[in-house]
Every structure is written in C-alpha cells, then in structure tokens.
C-alpha cells in the first residue's frame, strides 16, 4: 500500500461510517468541501497515525496545513519520508 492509497481508502471508510457523501477525491478538491466534517478528519488523523505511524498535524511547526486532498497526501508523504530517514 502506498501512502496515497492508504489515505484515500481511509477517507472513503470514514465517510461511509459517518454516513457522509464524499465528493470525488481529486487532488484539487478542497478538504472543507469534501463532505467530511471536523470529527471525520479527527478520526482520519487518528487512523492514519495507527496505520502510517505518523501524525504530521501534531508535530507541525511552521509548515502549512493542507487545504486540498493533494496537499493532504503530500503532507503525510513528507512526514512518512522524514520518519523513515
């Protein structure tokens, strides 16, 4: 599993559990318009911490918070790379 596919799978799973209608997950889709609320994102971040072993939101310093799906993937990718290095 790539980081990207893990994130996209979890996004779909959380949306289904929380009975939210998810917009098609294109890279330029703004997270705030994705159909998920902040509880969904909270759950997503916790799940990703368990599966990927990183929580870039908790350790962010000066970095820009992601605003789109593409940025979210890159955000985790960077954290995963850093953790592996």
């Amino acid at each position: 599993m790539t980081t990207r596919s893990t994130i996209l799978d979890e996004l779909q799973a959380v949306a289904a559990e929380q009975q939210k209608t998810l917009k098609p997950l294109r890279d330029d889709l703004p997270l705030m318009e994705s159909g998920l609320d902040s509880l969904c994102f909270a759950i997503l971040v916790a799940r990703l911490e368990d599966t990927l072993g990183v929580d870039p939101f908790a350790s962010v310093s000066g970095a820009k918070f992601p605003t789109t799906v593409g940025e979210l993937v890159a955000f985790y990718q960077a954290a995963a790379d850093k953790a592996a290095a």
Partner: protein, 445 residues
C-alpha cells in the same frame, strides 16, 4: 454508641468476621484485644490505623472506637509519604501498625496482631471517636473526610439474619457500611483482601452460606467473568460506588434468579442517599425534592444531597467546606432526566471534550456494555490535533464472543445509538480492566 455497643445490641452469639487468614469471634472482644497491653496508651489519641489484613483492621477498629479521639482509616497500600501527610492533617499522635518497625514516627506506636491478647481495663473517651476516611481524588492528595459512628450508621435498619460478604475493603465507605450492617445485625461477615482471587473468595463465601453480598459494578463484572459466580446463591445482591447500568443489572438477574438486586447511591462525603430496588438503572425522578430524611436536588445537572448521614467536615486548615450554607453536598455526579427517571451520566470532572462537545465516558460505557458480546468497558480520550480529543475504549469481551469482525460490529452499534462525537472511534480488546483499591474502574493510568 460505639462498635462494641452495636455488637452487644443484637448479641455477639456465634457471630464473627472472617478473612482468608483469620476468624474473629465478636464475643471475644469483651476479654481480648488485637492491641494487647498497649491499648490504654491509645486513649484520647488521634490514631493512624495502617494494617494490611482486613480482619486485623476490623479488630483494631472495634478496639479503638470509643477509646481514641480520632481514627484515620488508611488504605493498606499507603507508603510513608501519604501516611505522613495524613498524620499531619489529622494531628495524629499515635499509630497502630502491623510491622516490626512503625512506618511513621509518632509519640505512640502500637503493633496490632492476631490472635488477640488479654484486654486491659481502659478508660473510655469522653467524646464520640472521629472516624476519618480518605477519599481518593483524581488529582492531588486525598481529602480526609470526618465522620462519627452515628453519621456512618445512619442508614442502618433492623434486619433479619443476614450472612454478609463484601468485595469491598471495609475501610472504604462502601465496605464500612457492610461491616456496620454485619456488626449490628445477627449474622457474620466474610471479607476478601490481600491476594485472594475473586474465584477463591466466591468459593469461600458460597461455602459459608453467604446470603447478602455487596460490591461495585466493577467487582460484580469481574465476579461474573470469573466463571465462579455460581458458587454463590445469594438472597440479596447490592451494587454501589459506581453507576449500575442496565447491562450489569440484567446480567446479575440472569445469574442470581432468586436474589433481590439493589443498587445504592452513596458517597463518603454525603453518606448513603438511597437504594433502588426496581431493577432499572438510575432512580425515579419524583425522588427529587421529595420530603424525607434525605433531600435530593439537581443543580447544574449535578446531584446534591442533604442528610444527617453526611460527613461532618474535611480535615485540614485549608480544606474547602464539605456542604453549602443549606447543608447540601455537591456530589459531582451528573444526572440526566429521561422520561420519569434520572440516570447517572458521569462525573463532572471526567468529561471528554470532542471539538467542544461534551462526552461522559460512563454514558458511552453503558452503550458498549449493552452489546451482547461485551462484559465490561473503559472509555477514555485519545488526544487529537483536530478536535482536541476523540473517544476510544478498552473492551472486555464475554468468553463466548468470537473476535472476528467484532470491533466493526460494536462500533457500528454504538454509532447507531449515540451522537457521532460520542461514539467510540476505535476499540482495543483487553483481558481485564484496571481497578482501583476501592474496587472502582481505574480511569487514569
């Protein structure tokens, strides 16, 4: 009134108290003492009581009540630091202990031991002995709550022969209530403690023909999980100290078909407020503001209680007031009106904040525990960078439960019954849940 008077009132007879290691006959206290020849040295003293065995503690309590000015009932697990803090606040000038060397240096130290030795003649105290019960706060040093035997025994009524047993330590308020019931009644008391397993205690209580048994819902869940609950055939099952939810009441009803099952509400500060015998969680809403010896009211969704069973005060110069100007104790236990019933939803201090929305762990636990595969659960906060916290839970499954796909199924069931922010987001299946020395679910650590 003293403990000795309580025993005498219904006759010592063949009655007694039994731990795994010792048996005390109430009749022996007229001539013998666990404190031996040194008993007189404790007259009028403020005494730290720190012994391990519960039968030994019981013997020392019977010896000291009516003799000492004050008894501080210290949990067996306390080390030198909490003992020293309590001694300072209680202005203690004596210690009763069970070690070769006293764990604390005070002007008088007396070693308690069983079997009992000849009781010397002693001069009774001029005033009723103060009983000091530490309450375990969630943070900071324990508060020292002052009672007398009169406030502690306020809820006792005359009862037919009862053979009691309790999972509680008799030094805790809940256990002390059972100790006093046993002393003033016409039966005996079996206590556990030390490293005796739940299984062994249930077997011992069953063999002794125990008819009345008390403990916290956590104690009872553990008993039901032990596979040895059938050793007991009680007439009466009592739960107190924690919220009794419908799931545990139902499970006990199924296990003990012939028993009357009651849950009691009490706190060390407010005393025994009421018992509920209709088998349902919570209590009838019309008990609020009802005239009677115990007054209940709900302020800011929190239960407040006024009664003559209330403790007198907290010890210590900077201690807060125990009751308000009208005599009500704020219990910190939050209730919610559901139909004709008030149900307990949790502790005011235990609320989890999920993105500004409040979650009572106990309320989520009640939903988890209602799942047919779940025996017990502990809900807690997981830190989260988006909402501050999210809800997660440790779950103990029934032995028959198949784990495959179960996390998903239980989480789904919770989402069906709870608002989204309250539903657990992840479960961890564990073999057992941590318990405090007081027999309650350990919520921290």
């Amino acid at each position: 009134m003293t403990l000795a008077d309580l025993i005498a009132r219904s006759g010592a007879g063949e009655r007694g108290l039994e731990s795994r290691a010792h048996r005390l006959a109430f009749a022996d206290f007229a001539r013998f003492s666990a404190l031996g020849a040194d008993l007189g040295a404790l007259a009028g003293r403020s005494v730290i009581l720190h012994v391990r065995d519960m039968a030994l503690a019981a013997a020392a309590l019977i010896d000291l009540d009516g003799l000492a000015s004050r008894i501080v009932l210290c949990p067996p697990g306390w080390g030198p630091e909490p003992l020293a803090q309590a001694a300072e606040r209680a202005e203690a000038d004596a210690i009763v202990h069970d070690r070769l060397v006293p764990p604390l240096q005070l002007p008088v130290a007396v070693q308690a031991a069983l079997p009992m030795r000849t009781r010397p003649a002693v001069k009774p105290a001029a005033q009723a002995t103060e009983w000091v019960l530490p309450t375990s706060g969630t943070s900071g040093p324990p508060k020292l709550v002052v009672h007398t035997l009169e406030t502690l025994a306020g809820a006792l009524t005359d009862a037919p022969p009862q053979q009691w047993a309790t999972f509680y330590d008799i030094r805790r308020y809940g256990g002390l209530q059972i100790f006093l019931r046993a002393l003033s009644g016409s039966g005996s008391l079996r206590v556990s403690g030390g490293d005796e397993s739940v299984e062994a205690f249930l077997a011992r209580a069953g063999e002794a023909g125990v008819t009345h048994m008390s403990g916290t819902p956590s104690h009872w869940r553990k008993a039901l999980m032990s596979g040895e609950a059938h050793r007991l055939s009680p007439d009466y099952v009592r739960l107190s100290g924690e919220i009794a939810d419908d799931a545990i009441l139902e499970a006990l009803r199924e296990q003990y078909l012939n028993a009357r099952i009651e849950h009691a509400y009490a706190s060390t500060e407010a005393g025994v407020a009421f018992t509920v015998g209709d088998g349902r969680a919570g209590f009838p809403a019309d008990w609020i503001d009802r005239p009677g010896p115990v007054a209940l009211r709900v302020v800011d969704e929190t239960l407040q209680i006024r009664s003559a069973r209330r403790a007198l005060r907290f010890l210590g110069g900077d201690a807060p007031a125990l009751a308000d100007a009208e005599g009500f104790v704020d219990t910190g236990d939050m209730v919610e009106l559901r139909g004709d019933r008030y149900v307990f939803v949790g502790r005011r201090g235990g609320i989890i904040n999920v993105g500004g929305a409040k979650v009572h762990p106990e309320e989520v636990e009640a939903v988890l525990n209602a799942h047919p595969a779940v025996r017990a659960s502990r809900v807690f906060a997981r830190k989260n960078p988006i909402t501050g916290a999210i809800v997660v839970a440790d779950v103990v499954l029934l032995p028959s439960a198949a784990q495959v796909g179960l996390e998903r199924e239980i989480l789904e069931a919770c989402r069906g019954r709870l608002p989204a922010h309250m539903a657990p987001t992840r479960l961890r299946f564990v073999p057992e849940l941590p318990m405090t020395d007081g027999g309650k679910l350990a919520r921290h650590g």
